[in-house]
Amino acid sequence: MHNFTITELIDGLKKRVFSSEEITQHFLARIKNLDSEFNSVITLTEDQALESAKLADQLLAEGSASELCGVPVLHKDIFCTQGVRTSCGSKMLDNFVPPYDATVIENFRNNGAVMLGKTNMDEFAMGSSNETSFYGPVKNPWSTDSVPGGSSGGSAAAIAARLAPGATATDTGGSIRQPAALCGITGLKPTYGRVSRWGMIAFASSLDQGGPMARTAEDCALLLNCMASYDDKDSTCIDRPVPNYSVNLGDSLKGLRIGIPKEYFSEGLNAGTEQAVRDSLAEYEKLGAELVDISLPNTGLSVPAYYVIAPAEASANLSRFDGVRYGHRCEDPKDLEDLYRRTRAEGFGDEVQRRILIGTYCLSAGYYDAYYGKAQQVRQLIRQDFTQAFEKVDLIMGPTCPSPAFKFGAKGNDPVAMYLEDIYTISTNLAGLPGMSLPCGMVDNKPVGLQIIGNYFDEARMLNAAHQFQQVTDWHQLAPAGIES
């Protein structure tokens, strides 16, 4: 039952082959029995899940069910859930039970989806390996001595281990696409402003974007149909109709122009990863697409620009965690200053503190123009690269990350090596463009991700291209050893 896609589960629910309660029980049992090995779920919401499943079954029986009615999903622990602890992977919020739902969570509830629980993640979404979580690292189901990627590593690992058919995630510099690639699943970061950020704990507000993860592009389309909405409560959300992302999945790719940026195939790319990506591009040619060589000359500047902008915005966003209104508070503060400083030193992990300090440095008097101002200008250069490319091509494709999943601790002592893990994903966040990753091969028994970058609001075309690829390949159907049955 856990090998069914969301599309197949919906079909089975509608035909009454099984009930939502049955599949919810099944996935809850899998999480309870198997997740001790992967650590992908922080909080299991068993009682709530069974209650929503029963309600979903009633709606299904009445014939008044919405698209995702009765489908069990996991939510990244960055989305506020009313009455359910929302930790953001941090000690700071270990005791935080939000009094309201994020808009994304509300959309899922209104759609009848069943929340199984909340997934593990890098603390405050700062990381590419899931090693910074207060709740311990998530293990990659393909190779438990390797990282699942991050920051949405819990969501990605849970889907790969068939603990849930789909999950929510967020992406600030690659946090949906990189773990999706490393865990062999499909994930999509939408255009900035497509999915509401209200109730999604902020890391870098001008880059953060929520999106879906599932095993297939077809399932991601279903989840995005539910997640994307205009929201008055998020002033950066774009007021634009949400298309049905499922309707064009079957379109032919004949004549589709795919840009191949030479900068994404240069030094630092693992040979096996490159081969898998090149083979996939050949597959696209067979499907009728045309490959066009392009250049994104400012790609190299994206990592330095990101590591100014993201920490700067994080240092401002995380100033709200002060031990006064919610979250962790230190014992016996001797004065207000001591309350702030000890609460924050105890509540935040090392990487978060490091980024706060870098951000504070970049924003401090005398440095603002040289760092934040300059980085914002470099963002224009990066956007111009894409604008020029999209005059010649419909989509851009390349690797999602430079190599398959690395071992725990491999990049622990060198923050810059870890940051370079996101070299191919960061520029789309800086430009606000949508990007996705889908499985396209295996190297050393570990999955490789193909990245698709689209023009603004062109998610339907990306999903169409990914779906067509998944009709002629079976990389997305592979399961880690021991997980199949």
Binding site: P99, G323, R329, Y361, G373, V378
Partner: protein, 95 residues
């Protein structure tokens, strides 16, 4: 590149973080390597370019100045570390 102890202490004060002496060396080195990375930006020619504040060049949307959310004070204060008479309590600030 490493950063002076004084600078780290100043940043820690601005960021309201308690930093123990034994952590200063490690933080200094790690911040130094990140700042080396971001210094690559200085070589980029950005003359005549404005900063990109919103990826789609959207301007901040304004709403009508009227109450549009329910009052959730009780719910918010229920999760606070310490409150009294609808107020959040902190250590005494004024003698």
């Amino acid at each position: 590149m490493s950063i002076e102890k004084q600078t780290i202490e100043n940043l820690a004060t601005l960021a309201r973080l308690a930093v123990d002496d034994e952590r200063v060396e490690e933080i200094s080195q790690r911040l130094g390597s990140v700042l080396e990375l971001v210094d690559q930006l200085q070589a980029a020619d950005t003359s005549g370019l404005s900063g990109l504040d919103h990826p789609l060049n959207e301007t901040q949307r304004l709403r009508e100045d009227k109450i549009n959310k329910p009052n959730m004070r009780e719910a918010f204060q229920a999760i606070a570390p310490d409150t009294e008479d609808d107020l959040y309590l902190v250590p005494k600030v004024i003698d």
